[in-house]
């Protein structure tokens, strides 16, 4: 059906296979195609602006959509004629941030964008300097320009409560501004992208193919391995590299170990935010065992450094396998004991039930991913829908809850934790013998690759264009929080101020991962501005 929509609108199909369709769409038809694809059940995964002047003499924009029904990714490419492309944000509001990012980084103008304002670059960045254009160098310094802070209208009835610039518990740079009337939140705004680090430029210009995985791993301090895995899969997809089966299984095991420690970390943070510090201590005590597992298998607690393009670097021998199974057996019981204890505490359940609701319709429009989507009744999981690594051969359930509140998100993660134990056990059992690294490959020139993984927080997408030799032409990582964050103000609306920390934390936000690529969001989500929210309230 997707291919019919594209062909009907006269698009040129560049690549068409089981997982991915890449099509060149004309500027005139772009909006229509986007609308039809969205109606056909696609949600917006990410958008990538590319400076293709050395190759085609023009700038290009790639919109990456994920179709859950057909279990396929659709990438629609358009060329910016005279630096202008029609915006698709009016039809898919999930494209908002991605288009503004391309605007900041490449300088493409999106016609008809509802809020064409700066997102990523700081306010004092000079106008007309675009860091992802090829003539800009990674170590180039630009003088700051002077900015005057904008004056804001103040409503005497409404109080502003800043949360940030550091999250009260997550210790990450993020800044929410909550607008309070009495006890109730009537508006929320997010301002982020404080720690934009220019990873993409660095990877393009200075690093080589097998150095980028280590940079990708440092996008996130918790789920780094999944980024590094997604990057390697993207390059493997572009260059059609076959990964040895044993390497696929080792990747799966490590991805699940990472999910286990990430979910336990979240349970701890959630308990702490709800005032149940014993639960926090106990989950983190159990989590320590997973850090030990990681240290045993990879040589370090975090930043595993295991992936290279074409496979993994270290094998799991019988000795390690035995130790791993022993630790898993012990922690499984302990995890169940503690989490059941948490789930039985009425005070905690009362604070989570019915709080921070995200309805399914809004969730789909924004394009939320991972546990947040599954808690809002969207049955999606990249591991099952787009099997990568060894997930195709393993058996696991995908928990889905309809309620969309904080409790549902808690329960989704609760069930996922035990599924992860089961996946690791299966993978260890079924792991075949053989090679772990395939180094016999050649990188083609200007080939597209897409890598996707289900990070603990949701779908993680990496888009790669190769340059040949051992260099990349363009690399665009997209962390799951990039899609989940715009949903937070919707969840906060009408809730009590005291519930704000747990609601913000319920998406398991990873602000810095999001920031590496883009932000400034002022009092608005999608097409709804703060003023509109306030109007709704009265």
């Amino acid at each position: 059906m997707l291919i019919e929509i594209l062909e009907k609108n006269g698009s040129k199909i560049i690549r068409h296979d089981e997982n991915i369709i890449i099509a060149l769409v004309s500027n005139k038809k772009l909006k229509k195609v986007a609308k039809e694809l969205f109606d056909a059940g696609c949600y917006y995964a990410t958008g990538v602006g590319v400076d293709e002047r050395p190759k085609n003499g023009a700038f290009a924009m790639y919109h990456i959509l994920n179709c859950e029904d057909e279990k396929r990714y659709v990438i629609i490419k358009t060329f910016a004629e005279e630096l202008k492309i029609p915006s698709i944000t009016p039809v898919i509001c999930g494209a908002n941030w991605a288009e503004r990012e391309a605007m900041d980084m490449i300088g493409i103008e999106f016609e008809g964008h509802p809020e064409p304002e700066r997102l990523i670059m700081p306010d004092d960045w000079p106008n007309g300097v675009y860091p992802l254009r090829k003539e800009f160098h990674y170590n180039q310094k630009v003088p700051a320009i002077e900015v005057k802070p904008k004056k804001r209208k103040k409503d005497p009835k409404i109080m502003e409560v800043p949360v940030g610039p550091f999250h009260p518990t997550l210790h990450e740079p993020e800044s929410f501004e909550l607008y309070i009337e009495g006890e109730k939140i009537v508006g929320a705004s997010y301002r982020g992208f404080h720690v934009h680090r220019g990873l993409e430029k660095l990877a393009e210009e200075r690093l080589t193919l097998n150095q980028v995985p280590f940079l990708a791993e440092r996008i996130c301090g918790i789920c780094g391995f999944t980024h590094n895995c997604a990057y390697c899969q993207a390059v493997e997809d572009a260059a059609k590299i076959e990964v040895p089966e044993r390497a696929e299984y080792i990747r799966t095991i490590l991805l699940e170990v990472e999910r286990l420690h990430s979910h336990l970390l979240w349970f701890g943070v959630a308990c702490h935010l709800l005032g149940f510090d014993s639960g926090f201590m106990h989950t983190w005590r159990i989590r320590e065992a997973f850090m030990d597992i990681a240290e045993l298998l990879t040589g370090n607690r975090k930043t595993y450094g295991m992936n290279l393009v074409g496979g993994v670097r270290r094998d799991i021998d019988e000795n390690k396998k035995k130790k791993l199974l022993e630790i898993l057996d012990k922690t499984k019981k302990e995890t169940k004991e503690i989490l059941d204890n948490v789930a039985e505490m009425k005070e905690l359940i009362n604070r989570m039930e019915g709080v921070g609701v995200l309805p399914k319709k809004e969730a789909r429009e924004i394009g939320v991913v991972g546990p947040v989507a599954r808690a809002s009744g969207i049955d999606t999981d990249i591991r099952r829908d787009h099997p990568y690594a060894a997930y195709g051969e393993l058996d696991f359930k995908v928990p889905v809850y309809k309620e969309g509140d904080v409790l549902a998100r808690f329960l989704v993660r609760y069930e996922e934790t035990f599924e992860s134990f089961w996946i690791v056990e299966q993978a260890l059992d079924q792991m075949p013998q053989g090679e772990i690294l395939n180094e016999d490959y050649e990188l083609p020139e200007f080939a597209y690759g897409l890598g996707y993984t289900e990070a603990p927080r949701g779908e993680d997408v990496h888009f790669v264009i190769t340059e040949g030799g051992n260099k990349l032409y363009r690399w665009r990582p997209r962390a799951p929080t990039y899609n989940n964050l715009p949903a937070v103000p919707i969840m906060l609306m009408g809730e009590k101020l005291a519930d704000a920390p747990i609601i913000i934390a319920s998406i398991d936000p990873c602000f810095s991962c999001t920031d590496h690529v883009a932000i400034i969001e002022k009092g608005r989500v999608c097409r709804c501005s703060l003023e509109e929210y306030l109007r709704l309230k009265r």
């Binding site: 080589t208 106990h282 240290e295 370090n300 450094g305 004991e337 204890n341 039985e344």
Partner: protein, 172 residues
């Protein structure tokens, strides 16, 4: 389970906090700690420099003194062990040491200096002795004669030889 059982659970578990730094802490066999260069084995081939993602390892030639310097700066190191993977002689290895906090910047640098060979023709230092010895096995016999020539002089010599072989030139 309720609050009471949690108390009994806590009592049965006891203390889990490690005594570190007052008692040493164990790390597994394959731990990736501080890299160490074996000065006896290093040949100055620069492959670690090419693999190092954060440029913690730099190799440069000090032409005046005629030495090649392999400089490891731990302040940039990310402990990825790529240098260990690519080192042809196994000179660089990651140790189990992880206590790297220090008051002096000097402790974070490791510098290995390797004697270089001067070109027979132009006298410019061009490669380390050890690297030449290591690569001599790989060279075809006709190139071994030009072992002590720098790449530029070697290219010149080769083109001279070729003109000679063709029967041209003024040497005949």
């Amino acid at each position: 389970m309720g609050r009471l059982s949690l108390i009994s659970k806590s009592i049965s578990i006891g203390k889990v906090t490690e005594k570190y730094p007052f008692a040493p802490i164990e790390v597994p066999e394959d731990f990736r700690g501080k890299p160490k260069i074996d000065t006896e084995k290093c040949i100055g081939c620069t492959s670690c420099m090419n693999a190092c993602p954060p440029r913690a390892l730099e190799v440069y030639d000090d032409l005046e003194r005629g030495v090649r310097v392999v400089h490891l700066f731990l302040g940039r190191c990310i402990f990825c062990a790529r240098c260990q993977d690519v080192c042809p002689t196994g000179a660089i290895k990651l140790t189990k040491e992880f206590e790297l906090a220090t008051l002096s910047d000097e402790d974070l640098h490791q510098i290995v200096e390797l004697q270089m060979v001067r070109c027979e023709e132009c006298g410019k230092p061009f490669d380390t002795f050890r690297h030449l010895l290591y690569s001599v096995k790989e060279l075809p016999p006709w190139q071994r004669e030009m072992l002590f020539l720098c790449p530029e002089c070697r290219a010149k010599k080769v083109s001279e030889l070729l003109t000679f072989a063709k029967g041209g030139g003024g040497y005949v």
